[in-house]
Every structure is written in structure tokens, then in C-alpha cells.
């Protein structure tokens, strides 16, 4: 009787209402760390996610993982992941197209994965699915018909298979041979890098020698570089003192805190440091970014009680990058640092280092500078890049991810490609639905999805 009453009175909610309630809860849990510390920055993150579905995608890797793990819900099934070792491959975590970009070790420009905040051991399919979703979103947003848009995912999946099978993405980039999308990024970083555009944009040389940041008077739309508070200065002192891999002759010229960058990590603490290597002239001046990294989201498919694979969060992000990059020195300044309970990563902040930009890609498609064939070629490149990274990866038990993935694929490459396309389509539908519900929820509950009230209690 009670069951009938409870069941009957609970059937009024629509699918959208049920989904929205779940989504709000998942977002609240996923962003708890930011909510507790700096709600205003979380509000800025949510605002960015609300304004653009791709930025929503960037900000919701953890929510996507939760969704994948909702046992019993309407999910895309895989016929893969039969091999136990293929379920625990070292993942990049969230390799969507904007988390891939250029580096310049020595005099060579290379294309690499460039964000390992979400790195963890888990099912290799998760990385492939995130890449496929990002690419399909771009093709769909550009207005391609479903069949044509699917060709983009098809190319990425095939590129992935080729690389895992033993045809890795070549490390060095040669201008004019990479396809339009990659060539444009290469051209931009080459021009800006040679001109030291980022250094000149954010800093100025002092008349008496040295260099300082051009601090913003106030944040504009939540973005800019501000001077450090006393506490921030002390924390940066500790971080720099613990940076054992700092280059020889490292001298700090100026320091600041940068706001408004990124999406998932927008609320994180992000310091920028201008430095030189001992010469009084400006030629050895450069910038590094030292940005906070939080724990990765829980990866579905990893068995209960997964061990601590790394010594610390700093070890996690540093070791993962050096393992998955084609060359460990892709960013010579890259390092993980620890300050108390906080983890940071040091990265070169130079114009040579840049990521793909989804708005730029969409703009180029709209202007006719990038046609479908070029988008397909680019997708194939990104698939190869991810496949190459996985081919270098270990598994949790210390085996070779390549062997585990190949065993799991079991020569069913065509089935794999079809499944990745099907999953990407379902994920895209869900992404657009969730983004709409997210925007609605912010209108109903406020900028922080109602969690501000909870925090105030």
C-alpha cells in the first residue's frame, strides 16, 4: 500500500526535471572544493559554461564520468572493455581538442596533450570518447549534416587505431604539411613565439632594468593579472623554493595572480612569474605559470579500493605528462609542486605553447578557410596523437597499455569506429540537453545553482 502511494505520487516529474535535479546535484558535488573557498570564481566558471556548450563540456568532465557510472540508466553500451587490463590504462583524463596544443622543446615545435589535471588509471575508451565528443560538437555546431559530422569522428577513431597499432604521430611539426587547422596554429605560435608576444603583452621592461607585469587596475569580466596579496606572495615564495627543477640562474623579476583563464580550472589559484636566468638584458626573460591542480574526478570502471598509484598529486600530474608526451622535455619547465594540502603545476607560459581554440576553428569553418576534408584531417591527427599517448602508457599493473588495448580491440577496428561514432552522437545529444538544463537551472536557482544558500547555513 505504501509502495503504491509512494510510487504514485512520485511519477509527476518529467524526464527533464529529473535530469535537471541530478545534474544540479552532480555539479554541486563536482565543484564543492571551489564553492567552499571562492564562490565568486565558481560563479564565473558557471557563467562561462552557460555561455557556450563547448565550455560547458570543458567544465563537466567529472559530471560526465558520474553519468557514465549511473548504473541502470539509459547509457551507451560498449562491446569492448572485456580485457581487465584495458580498464586500467593511464589516461590523459580529458583529451578534448582544446587540451591539445604546441610545445617547443629546443628548436622544435611539437604537438602534445597539454592538460593532465584529470589524469588517472581507467578504461581507455573514456579518453577516446571525450575526444570524439569534442570533435563531433565542433562539426555539428559548424552546421555539417550528421553523416558528414560523423566523418570527423570516424577519422579520429581511425587515427587512434593506427597509432595504437604502431603508427605513432610524428613528434615534430613541419609548417605547411599539417593540414589547414594545425598549420594555422603552427603559424600563429611561430609568429607569436618569435616575437615573444605573450611576454610583451603581459609585461614591460623597466627603465632601470628588470621587468614587471602590466597589472590590471581591476578584473575586466573576471579576467586579468593582479598583484599578489601578502598571503599569496608567501605561498608563491614557498612554491618557488620547493621547485627543485628550476633552471640554473633562475631569478624572479615579478609576480602576479592571473584570473579568468581556463574553464574547469577557472577558480583555481594561478600565479604567473616573470623571470630571467641571470643576464641583465631582456633576452633571457621569460614567463612561467604556476597553477593549482585539484584531485581528478573518480573514474568509472576502476574497481573499488583502487590504490594510490602516485606519491602525491604533484607526482601524478608530472609523471603522467612525462609518460604520455612523445618527449619528456616537451615543456622543460613542467613540474608538479606541493604546498601543504594544495598541488600546483609549473608550466612555461610562452606564445610557443598554445592550444586549439574551438571558437577559432568554428570561425574558420564559417569563413570557408576550413572545409570538411580539413576538419577530418585534423580529427585524424588528434586521434593519432591520443593513440600515440596511450601506446606509450602503462597499465595499473605495470604492463603495456598498447598490448592491453590491442587485446581488447581483438581486431574489431570497424566495430570500434562504429561504436565511437554512436557513443559520440548520444553524448552530443546529452551535452546539448544538459547545457540547456544547466542554463535553466541557473535561472531558477541562481548563479551558484542554489549552493550559495547551503554554504551560508
Amino acid at each position: 500500500m505504501l509502495a503504491l502511494v509512494l510510487g504514485g505520487c512520485s511519477g509527476a516529474a518529467t524526464d527533464d526535471e529529473l535530469r535537471k535535479a541530478w545534474l544540479v546535484e552532480a555539479l554541486a558535488d563536482d565543484n564543492r572544493v571551489w564553492l567552499s573557498r571562492d564562490p565568486a570564481l565558481l560563479g564565473a566558471k558557471y557563467a562561462k559554461m552557460a555561455a557556450d556548450p563547448y565550455d560547458y563540456l570543458r567544465g563537466t568532465a567529472g559530471v560526465t564520468f558520474r553519468d557514465r557510472a549511473r548504473a541502470g540508466s539509459d547509457r551507451s553500451h560498449t562491446i569492448f572493455l572485456r580485457d581487465a587490463e584495458a580498464v586500467e590504462v593511464l589516461l590523459a583524463g580529458d583529451p578534448h581538442p582544446e587540451n591539445m596544443g604546441t610545445f617547443r622543446p629546443a628548436d622544435l615545435v611539437v604537438l602534445e596533450l597539454n592538460d593532465f589535471d584529470g589524469s588517472a588509471f581507467g578504461p581507455y575508451l573514456l579518453d577516446v570518447q571525450r575526444l570524439a565528443l569534442g570533435l563531433l560538437y565542433l562539426a555539428d555546431e559548424a552546421g555539417y549534416e550528421p553523416h558528414d559530422a560523423a566523418l570527423v569522428v570516424d577519422a579520429a577513431a581511425r587515427g587512434y587505431l593506427e597509432a595504437v597499432a604502431g603508427d605513432p604521430w610524428p613528434s615534430g611539426l613541419v609548417p605547411g604539411q599539417q593540414g589547414v587547422v594545425l598549420d594555422q596554429l603552427l603559424s600563429k605560435v611561430s609568429d607569436d613565439g618569435a616575437a615573444r608576444a605573450r611576454l610583451l603583452e603581459y609585461t614591460e621592461v623597466l627603465p632601470e632594468g628588470g621587468r614587471r607585469f602590466r597589472f590590471d587596475a581591476a578584473l575586466e569580466a573576471g579576467a586579468g593579472v593582479l598583484p599578489l596579496t601578502i598571503d599569496q606572495g608567501r605561498q608563491l615564495d614557498r612554491l618557488l623554493a620547493s621547485w627543485s627543477a628550476a633552471p640554473e640562474g633562475f631569478r624572479v623579476l615579478d609576480r602576479g595572480r592571473r584570473f579568468g583563464s581556463g574553464v574547469a580550472s577557472l577558480p583555481s589559484v594561478r600565479y604567473v612569474v616573470a623571470y630571467d636566468l641571470g643576464d641583465d638584458g631582456p633576452d633571457d626573460d621569460a614567463l612561467v605559470s604556476i597553477r593549482e591542480v585539484v584531485d581528478p574526478p573518480a573514474v568509472p570502471g576502476v574497481h573499488v579500493g583502487a590504490p594510490g598509484y602516485w606519491d602525491s598529486g604533484a607526482d601524478r600530474i608530472e609523471a603522467t605528462a612525462r609518460t604520455l608526451w612523445s618527449r619528456a622535455d616537451a615543456d622543460p619547465r613542467y613540474a608538479g609542486l606541493t604546498d601543504g594540502a594544495m598541488t600546483f603545476k609549473v608550466q612555461t607560459w610562452a606564445s610557443w605553447h598554445d592550444s586549439f581554440d574551438h571558437e577559432r576553428v568554428l570561425s574558420d569553418i564559417a569563413r570557408g578557410r576550413v572545409v570538411l576534408d580539413e576538419l577530418v584531417r585534423w580529427a585524424g591527427t588528434l586521434g593519432q596523437l591520443l593513440g600515440s599517448a596511450h601506446a606509450r602508457a602503462p597499465t595499473a599493473r605495470g604492463g603495456e597499455a598498447r598490448a592491453a588495448i590491442l587485446r581488447d580491440l581483438n581486431s574489431q577496428g570497424e566495430v570500434f569506429v562504429a561504436e565511437i561514432i554512436g557513443t559520440a552522437r548520444a553524448d552530443l545529444d546529452q551535452l546539448r540537453t544538459d547545457h540547456r538544463l544547466f542554463v535553466e537551472a541557473r535561472e531558477e536557482l541562481g548563479d551558484l545553482l542554489g549552493m550559495g544558500l547551503v554554504e551560508d547555513r
Binding site: 546535484e25 548504473a71 572493455l81 588517472a120 568509472p300 574497481h303 602516485w310 599493473r397 542554489g450 547551503v454
Partner: protein, 358 residues
């Protein structure tokens, strides 16, 4: 001048029945300081052989203390939690185990009327009757918490009444619905009611029916439950049968959990412990291939080998099987089945220091 002497004593100072009132007209008790420590260590091997497939774990650690007066009592229970979470690296002093409050309960018993009232961070009134009968929480939690269908405790309170001789108990609770580890996120309160019938006038046979009207999360996703259990207690064997249905789960109103559990364990008078349990459940009734099955078996001698001894050492087996739509990644065969064998040492020690006014 009044002073208190601490005298090691047990008799006359059992805590009141958990989540139920003492029988109407029950004898008064004396006051005491009550302590309960339940700790187990485990050596295990798990298949499939990936990640941490062999190792040691802490399957049980719980400390409870209570200050009991003849009518009122306060009770505090603490569990360990891995700081930073089970998969995180950002914790306290690395990822140290830290204490977490499980229960912080203020309670008053009016024995003459068979009434009890409790408030604070209180036990779940639907879970605890079965958990107390199952007892092997050091091996696996009972169905409701093992499957994540309810929380062990929550902020709120309950009011209970038990008839003379204990034939019938009725308990009603109002709680936040978010569980012990989360702040309240909405204005809705969960209401829970239980009815326990003891046809023999003792705990030998208990029949339990219960229901919960609840909500979870900022948008008050439904979180209703209904269930029942039959519990048979004997000195040699204890048997339980349980069934649960739900509407909504963990802030996800679209899910509809349901399932049952059948189990038997050795009674307190045997010089050994043993258990056998079979659970079948799903988080989504009506969704094909969404079932999950758990099988537990094991046993070993008490230490020392005598009835009621507080320690045991034994071996156990646990198999968890998920159908394709219940695996962490839908369809993934590699994540659909785990089997664990373990060797475990458990000690559950309790005692009281009675307060006597000279």
C-alpha cells in the same frame, strides 16, 4: 560532597535498544559510561587481477561511547574516513585516516510509558533493526547501506513507543535526508516510519515494515523507500529475509532501486562465527540487464573458542556480479564481476564503568 566512583560493571547498564523504545514498564537501569570498539583487519586477494588486487584493508573500525543515566543518555560514534577520498591525493598529512562522526545522539526514555525520543545525528530507524540482527558489518554492510540505498545516520530525530512485553514497536523519524556527511540542501524533510511486531514477545522473531517519504538535493529529487524484513534469532543461528523498493536514488529521481537479501549467521552461543548471504538488487527496476548479485560466505573460530567471545578469525568469500546495464561502464565485461577471498581478524569489545553514589 557528592562524588562518583568508577566501578567496572556490565550488568544493569545496557544501552537502550537502538532506534526503538524499551518496552512499556521496563525496569529502570543504573547509570554508566559505556564503550564499544569494533575493529577488524583483513588480508585479501581479488580478481580480476588489476590494480590493488592483493593487499590489506580495514573493513571495520568503529568506536562508540555513551554516558547513560537511568532515563537519559548521550551517545557518540566515530568512524574512520580516508582524507582526500579513496581516489584523491589531497588529504590531511598525505591521505591519512581521520575520524568522522557517525552518531551524536541525545536520548530520553520514559520507561513507564514505553516512550523514547532521540535527536541529533541519529541512526536510520529502518536500517538498524536488520543491521543489529545481521551483526557481520565487519564483513559487509546490510543490503540498504551496502547498495547505497540509505545512509547509516542523518541529522534529525525520532520518537518511538514499545508496548508492554515488547510485542509491538512503532518509531517515526524526521531527518534531513542528506545523510550524516552532507549539509541539508533543501527545505524538505524526510519522514520515516517503522512498525515492528514480535509475535513471541521476544526478539526471537521480529517482523518489520517501514516506509520513507524523502527527497535529496537542491531540487528535491524524490528519494522514497518502502521495505520489510523478517528476522529470526536463536542462540545457534540467526536468519534474516529483507526486501526493499525505492523511488529515486542519490539525487537521481529517475532511478528506482529494489531488491532483496536472504542471510543466515551463527548465533552468539556458538564458539565459531559463520555467515552465508545472497543479495539480488538493481538501482533501476524496469531497466533490462540492470541487476546485481552479491554472494557472501565464510566463517572461523571465535577467539578464545567459547560462546560470546569478542574476537574471531576466519576466511571469507565475496562475489559481486553485475549485468551489462549495471556495470560502471555499460556493457563492460571486465568490470562486471569481482571475487574476493580474505582472511580477517575481528574484535568487538564492549564494556561499562558503572557510577555508584556512596
Amino acid at each position: 560532597m557528592m562524588w562518583w566512583a568508577m566501578v567496572a560493571a556490565w550488568a544493569g547498564c545496557e544501552p537502550s535498544p537502538v532506534v526503538a523504545a524499551p518496552a512499556l514498564g521496563a525496569e529502570a537501569r543504573s547509570g554508566c559510561l559505556w564503550g564499544d570498539l569494533d575493529i577488524a583487519g583483513r588480508l585479501f586477494a581479488r580478481s580480476p587481477d588489476v590494480g590493488l588486487s592483493r593487499g590489506v584493508s580495514l573493513p571495520r573500525m568503529r568506536a562508540e561511547a555513551a554516558v547513560i543515566t537511568p532515563d537519559a543518555s548521550v551517545r557518540l560514534a566515530v568512524l574512520p574516513a580516508r582524507s582526500g577520498g579513496e581516489e584523491g591525493y589531497i588529504g590531511i598529512a598525505g591521505e591519512a585516516l581521520v575520524p568522522v562522526l557517525q552518531v551524536a545522539e541525545a536520548r530520553y526514555d520514559h520507561r513507564a510509558w514505553g516512550l523514547s525520543v532521540a535527536a541529533g545525528l541519529v541512526d536510520d530507524i529502518a536500517l538498524m533493526p536488520v543491521q543489529l540482527a545481521w551483526q557481520r558489518v565487519d564483513v559487509a554492510r546490510p543490503l540498504l547501506t551496502d547498495r547505497g540505498w540509505t545512509e547509516r545516520s542523518d541529522l534529525g530525530g525520532w520518537l518511538g513507543w514499545t508496548s508492554p512485553e515488547g510485542y509491538v514497536s512503532i518509531t517515526a523519524a524526521v531527518v534531513s535526508g542528506e545523510g550524516a556527511n552532507r549539509r541539508e540542501r533543501n527545505t524538505g524533510l524526510d519522514t520515516v516510519g517503522t512498525l515492528t511486531v514480535r509475535p513471541l514477545g521476544s526478539q526471537m522473531l521480529e517482523l518489520l515494515a517501514w516506509g520513507r517519504e524523502g527527497s535529496t538535493g537542491l531540487l528535491q529529487a524524490r528519494d522514497h523507500r518502502a521495505g520489510g524484513a523478517a528476522l529470526f534469532r536463536h542462540d545457534v543461528v540467526v536468519v534474516g529475509v529483507e526486501a526493499v523498493m525505492g523511488w529515486g536514488l542519490g539525487g537521481d529521481g529517475a532511478l528506482a532501486p529494489g531488491g532483496g537479501s536472504v542471510w543466515a549467521r551463527t548465533g552468539d552461543e556458538l564458539p565459531a562465527v559463520g555467515w552465508l548471504r545472497f543479495d539480488q538488487g538493481t538501482d533501476a527496476r524496469g531497466v533490462a540487464q540492470a541487476g546485481e548479485t552479491t554472494v557472501l560466505a565464510g566463517g572461523g573460530p571465535r577467539l578464545p573458542m567459547a560462546s560470546g567471545a569478542p574476537a574471531w578469525v576466519g576466511v571469507g568469500y565475496e562475489a559481486r556480479t553485475m549485468q551489462g546495464n549495471a556495470t560502471p561502464l555499460a556493457g563492460s565485461i571486465a568490470t562486471s564481476r569481482t571475487q574476493t577471498v580474505f582472511l580477517q581478524l575481528s574484535v568487538h569489545a564492549r564494556g561499562a564503568a558503572q557510577w555508584e553514589a556512596p
